[in-house]
């Protein structure tokens, strides 16, 4: 695991412990994807509204904890700021609010919305003839929503080669409505699809750097709770739970020992 990704995961645990709010496993599964995007796209944490910036939309808004800690790791604010996560009058809600948190481009939470907004942003960049790139991260569970596939069809039909969809394939829906082979499905919709181990930061960055003339989809095969065996082996128990002090010590130990 890359140092920055370990640091982000460590802070996710700290924030969850201090705030009492969770969604840790789903936040852990996207750390490399988020890090790859923020190490690739044009952005300036000192000028979050920089006109020529690229845009990122977290469509699976319930992973906001991972998102906030990634933004903190890239200089948008401090990790300590995020300790107010979910608290009354905090900027940092359990789903992100673009009007409160610098670096958040769209407020999300209800699933299947962010990708459509991202399509609109990418279309706007095309109409304005800018070089802006738009990235959105969607979940496999979220992809039960029909609106996800509407948005993909529209993106392909409007030839949005400036749009990248990162698909967090963390096996969320195996228990109810699985998306059999997402790479084949996105390819059938006309996307330029790459599939990779979703915790391989270098591989994700390499895929993001590859030129394309179509809507780009990265199917990232991930593990909920990646980095801590206690989380990855008990995802239902930890779905929305915050660690108590003794559990925090144990989880930090697993994370820093490299155990899965």
């Amino acid at each position: 695991m890359d140092d920055i990704c370990r640091k982000i995961r460590s802070e996710i645990l700290n924030v969850s412990n201090k705030s009492g709010h969770g969604h840790i496993p789903t936040s852990f599964s996207i750390v490399e994807m988020l890090t790859a995007v923020y190490q690739t796209m044009r952005h300036d944490p000192k000028r979050p509204d920089m006109p020529e910036r690229d845009l990122f939309v977290l469509s699976k808004g319930h992973a906001s904890l991972g998102f906030y800690c990634t933004l903190a790791a890239h200089g948008y604010f401090s990790f300590e700021d995020v300790y107010a996560f979910g608290g009354f009058d905090s900027r940092f809600g359990c789903h992100p609010d673009r009007t409160k948190v610098p670096g958040v481009e769209a407020s999300t939470g209800s699933l299947g919305h962010g990708i459509g907004i991202a399509v609109g942003m990418a279309l706007a960049a095309k109409i304005a003839s800018t070089k802006r790139k738009v990235y959105t991260l969607i979940g496999d569970g979220e992809s039960n929503e029909g609106s996800v596939w509407e948005a993909v069809m529209v993106a392909v039909n409007t030839k949005l080669d400036n749009l990248t969809v990162l698909y967090d394939n963390n096996q969320s829906q195996g228990r109810c409505l699985p998306i059999g082979n997402p790479a084949e499905r996105f390819a059938a919709f006309g996307c330029d699809v790459s599939e990779m181990q979703g915790h391989d930061l270098a591989a994700i960055k390499q895929a993001l750097a590859k030129p394309t003339d179509r809507v780009r989809v990265l199917v990232c095969n991930t593990v909920k709770g990646y980095g801590c065996a206690t989380l990855s082996e008990n995802v239902y128990e930890w779905h929305r739970r915050a660690p108590k002090p003794d559990e925090l010590t144990k989880l930090q130990g697993e994370l820093h020992a490299g155990a899965i």
Binding site: R98, T99, E105, A106, S107, G109, S110, G112, H113, I115, G116, I117, A118, V119, G120, M121, A122, L123, A124, A125, K126, I127, A128, G146, S147, E150, A151, M153, V154, N157, T158
Partner: protein, 296 residues
């Protein structure tokens, strides 16, 4: 009204590159000229109303003034959550324009009827809600609101009225003020029938095209009268109720699907919204008031 919508937007777009059209495979031929003149600002995006609204929000986020347009219930009922979250909660503006108001598509049955849109959109924070009644109103209010910082809803109908009204955003119009103890309040195209019904009756008549924000100051002027709301949708009665402690009654839709096909006139007649039935309802209120006065 649809043709006026197209004409007004086309005129604006000739001088304003921020205007983008997003259609749900409706009114496409009507916008042919726009498409030819501005091919990169015209998108017949498909029959995918949820995504039409989300994309509209995304376009707005980047400084464009988009118009999303399709049939009323499919845009406002089906995509209510996209309007609520992607536009209102995100504070992304944009213009939502629907056709097929209330029973405009009477013959298509209840799947194509639309009467909850005004009421449900009125409840969303940040929203501006317009129940346009005439072509003049369409032209004036699109021009004044298309680049508003808030999401704006424009409800179009195939049966506009031709009555002169104040076209200023947020303002109602007093069409009759006889100092009467009964005031009829209405909105949108049904004004044609209401006007005919009330023309020679001793009542005041007040009309609105803007349901949010409602013209509270105007309503206050009639506080001391009984208010009879005559409307072919939900939303106006609730908007007027923002002024507290009024004496109000509603004459309009039944709590039923009106799936009898035919024409808008057929359905209006059956549910009591034709001129004769409205006149009867107003006369009943006048008689009740008169009887009440005798008792007192």
């Amino acid at each position: 009204m649809r043709a006026q919508f197209k004409n007004t937007v086309s005129e604006l777009a000739a001088h304003d590159d921020s205007i983008v059209i997003v259609l749900g495979d409706i009114s496409v031929y009507m916008f042919k000229d726009f498409w030819e003149k501005h091919p990169n600002r015209f998108y017949n995006m498909g029959i995918c109303e949820n995504t039409l609204v989300s994309v509209t929000a995304g376009l707005s986020s980047q400084g464009f003034n988009p118009f999303v347009h399709t049939i009323c219930p499919f845009l406002t009922d089906r995509s209510l959550e996209q309007i609520k979250l992607d536009m209102c909660y995100n504070n992304f503006a944009g213009n939502i324009v629907t056709c097929g108001a209330t029973f405009d598509y009477a013959w298509d049955g209840a799947t194509h009827h639309a009467y909850t849109d005004l009421a449900s959109l009125r409840m969303l924070p940040n929203m501006e809600v317009l129940h346009l009644g005439s072509k003049r109103e369409v032209d004036a209010l699109i021009r004044s609101q298309y680049n508003s910082p808030r999401p704006t809803y424009y409800r179009l109908s195939d049966h506009p009225h031709t009555i002169e009204t104040n076209t200023e955003f947020g303002k109602g119009t007093v069409l009759k003020n006889e100092g009467a103890p009964l005031t009829v309040m209405t909105a949108g195209p049904i004004l044609t029938n209401v006007m005919e019904a009330c023309r020679d009756l001793p009542v005041n008549l007040v009309y609105f095209h803007t349901l949010k924000p409602i013209d509270k100051a105007l309503i206050e002027q009639f506080r001391d009268t009984e208010i009879l709301v005559v409307h072919d949708a939900y939303g106006l009665y609730e908007a007027i109720s923002e002024v507290p402690a009024l004496r109000m009654r509603y004459h309009g839709l039944p709590d039923a699907f009106c799936g009898w096909y035919g024409t808008v006139q057929d359905i209006r007649k059956r549910i009591g919204l034709d001129p004769a039935s409205i006149r009867g309802a107003v006369q009943t209120r006048l008689a009740d008031r008169s009887q009440g006065a005798r008792v007192r």
